[in-house]
């Protein structure tokens, strides 16, 4: 019983981590809490679902298409909403507020009866394999293994990209000091577009995987996920990739244990309690380092 709960916790934790990865990357480089981020999570799952349902595409075609489309959406919204504010050197709260307004508009339009509505949609039967491995009474489905593998692969790939490539070096330079990076000849706009695309694609991947795992997809699923995302990126340290992985897994396990041993209604409050405790005790996150403001 405990073993099964730990496994379930690790799986949902892996999804939180995968989701938080793009979120924390976006913040680390763009220095903006982008609230439209949850939308790419919903968009990924919805586009994959519609491609399978309406166009009868196979999953292996629908998934990359959905990831590309969501990444492009992220790039487009960044270009329309945040790029003008960056050029005007607006304060960080202006960026937060503009993404807040956009989130409200886009969700409401997406969930309006004219578009998709709020009902829960499911992949047609037979699309998702029900195969599972059983080991000492612990059951793990193939989808769950896929989730775990994708998260680990994404963390490794992203760390490798950031640490070992010229592209990663340029992105880190922008994150460190955008003005100096510009002086060194780094094309800021192009690299920021890349970061937006990559973040959107990561969110979409998480959305598709959670859609496959629970097979219940609706427009507002990204908004619920955002609350977990906040807790994970604060706990892991804003902008910290490895921190996001560890914090995501930690939150997933803690939530499952809370639901199993205390009360299932308290499950969704766990993340927030963690968030406040982190802010009290170690505001830069468990793995973050303090930065100093300079005039």
């Amino acid at each position: 019983m405990l073993a099964q709960q730990l496994v379930n916790g690790i799986i949902s934790g892996a999804i939180y981590a995968l989701f938080a990865l793009g979120f924390t990357l976006m913040f680390g480089v763009l220095r903006v809490i982008n609230l439209t981020y949850g939308l790419y999570f919903s968009a990924g799952a919805l586009i994959a679902l519609l491609a399978v349902q309406r166009l009868s595409w196979p999953l292996y075609a629908a998934i990359p298409a959905a990831i590309l489309a969501s990444g492009t959406l992220a790039l487009f919204l960044d270009h329309m909403l945040l790029a003008p504010l960056r050029r005007a050197r607006a304060p960080e709260l202006a960026s937060l507020m503009v993404t807040l307004g956009a989130t409200l508009v886009l969700y409401s339009l997406l969930a309006s009866p004219l578009a998709l509505g709020t009902e829960i949609r499911r992949f047609p039967p037979g699309v998702i394999g029900g195969a599972a491995i059983e080991f000492l009474s612990v059951r793990i489905s193939l989808t769950q293994i896929l989730i775990l593998a994708t998260t680990l692969a994404a963390v490794l790939a992203l760390t490798g990209l950031m640490q070992n490539t010229r592209l990663g070096l340029a992105v880190r330079a922008i994150a460190e000091n955008a003005a100096v990076a510009q002086l060194m000849g780094i094309d800021q706009a192009r690299h920021l577009h890349f970061v937006s695309f990559l973040s959107g694609a990561l969110a979409a991947t998480a959305g598709i995987l959670i859609g496959l795992n629970f097979n219940a997809i609706q427009p507002y699923m990204g908004e619920t996920m955002m609350l977990k995302g906040f807790a994970v990126i604060i706990l892991g340290g804003l902008g910290n990739i490895r921190g996001a992985l560890i914090a995501g897994l930690f939150l997933g396990v803690l939530e499952t244990l809370t639901a199993g041993y205390i009360a299932s209604s308290l499950k969704d409050a766990t993340g927030f309690v963690l968030l406040v405790l982190t802010l009290w005790w170690r505001p830069t996150g468990l793995f973050g380092r303090a930065t100093e403001g300079r005039a």
Partner: protein, 282 residues
């Protein structure tokens, strides 16, 4: 006289909402005017509403005492949740207060005391027109007085550049804590007044959508003076009434207001600034 009475009865709900939303606009103004962002105004309003309704329904306390409690309890929450973020950049307060709203919704939904999903109904009618608009006028006058004083100068300095303000002696944590507390008290008062004119409150009235609507009051009106958010609140209260056929898209309108305001008119509709006491015109 009868015509005026008719008008009042027909539009009573809207008229009350004008005053209550004006108070909410002022509550977000207090936070924004020092350059912070709280998305917890709806949560503070909810805490005030539930506190006041429970005190009235279960203990039948006098209304004055109820209102006092409805302001103090949200202030306490503001200290616990916002307090730890005050040494940090503004995004932390925004995130912490978003979380607060969501957890309170879960609490209101699950706790037997707050009536669960059914909320609390049968709240006796107290207060009304004079009290609502009296409170609004008092809050407005208080904020104008503060804004014209040296405190107002310090708040302006903080909004423009926090670091620079601190180097010329503005005590940042004290100002932030005071602003957040006052704003929570105003929101709690609005919640209590609202609960006692609408007789019913439910767990979903104080969620994220409500928080964003309150923010859009201030962004539309602008935060150059406290009158801006009150104007913004009035417009965004009347607009949905005028555009009834578009009711499903009310949130779309609020969202667009925010996007347009931030991108194209960062000063809001009302850019008039209050003259300072002792200001010299050279």
């Amino acid at each position: 006289m009868t015509m005026l009475d008719d008008f009042f009865w027909t539009y009573q709900g809207v008229i009350y909402a004008l005053g209550i939303n004006g108070l909410l606009g002022l509550s977000i103004y207090v936070v924004l005017s020092i350059g912070q962002l709280s998305l917890g105004q709806a949560a503070f309003m909810g805490i005030g509403a539930y506190t006041s309704a429970l005190l009235t329904l279960k203990l039948a306390l006098p209304f004055g005492l109820v209102l006092l409690a409805a302001m103090l309890v949200p202030a306490l929450f503001a200290l616990v949740v916002g307090g730890p973020t005050l040494r940090l950049s503004g995004v932390y307060l925004a995130l912490a207060t978003i979380g607060l709203g969501e957890v309170l919704r879960i609490f209101f939904l699950n706790a037997p005391l707050t009536g669960g999903a059914l909320g609390l109904s049968g709240i006796p009618e107290r207060g009304g027109f004079a009290l609502i608009f009296g409170s609004l006028a008092l809050a407005l006058a208080g904020l104008v007085a503060i804004g014209r004083s040296s405190i107002g100068r310090a708040m302006d300095a903080m909004r423009e550049d926090e670091l620079a303000a601190s180097t010329i002696g503005v005590d940042l944590p004290v100002y932030k804590l005071a602003a957040l507390t006052v704003s929570a008290m105003l929101a709690g008062l609005a919640g209590a007044l609202n609960a006692h004119v609408s007789s019913f409150i439910g767990p979903n009235d104080y969620g994220f959508d409500a928080a964003v609507t309150i923010l859009s009051f201030a962004l539309l009106g602008g935060i150059a003076s406290p009158f801006g958010p009150v104007l913004g609140a009035a417009l965004l209260t009347i607009l949905p009434e005028a555009l009834r056929p578009l009711h499903d898209f009310r949130l779309v309108v609020n969202g667009l207001v925010i996007v347009v305001a931030v991108l194209f008119m960062p000063r809001g509709l009302l850019a008039w600034r209050m003259p300072r006491i002792g200001a010299r015109i050279d």
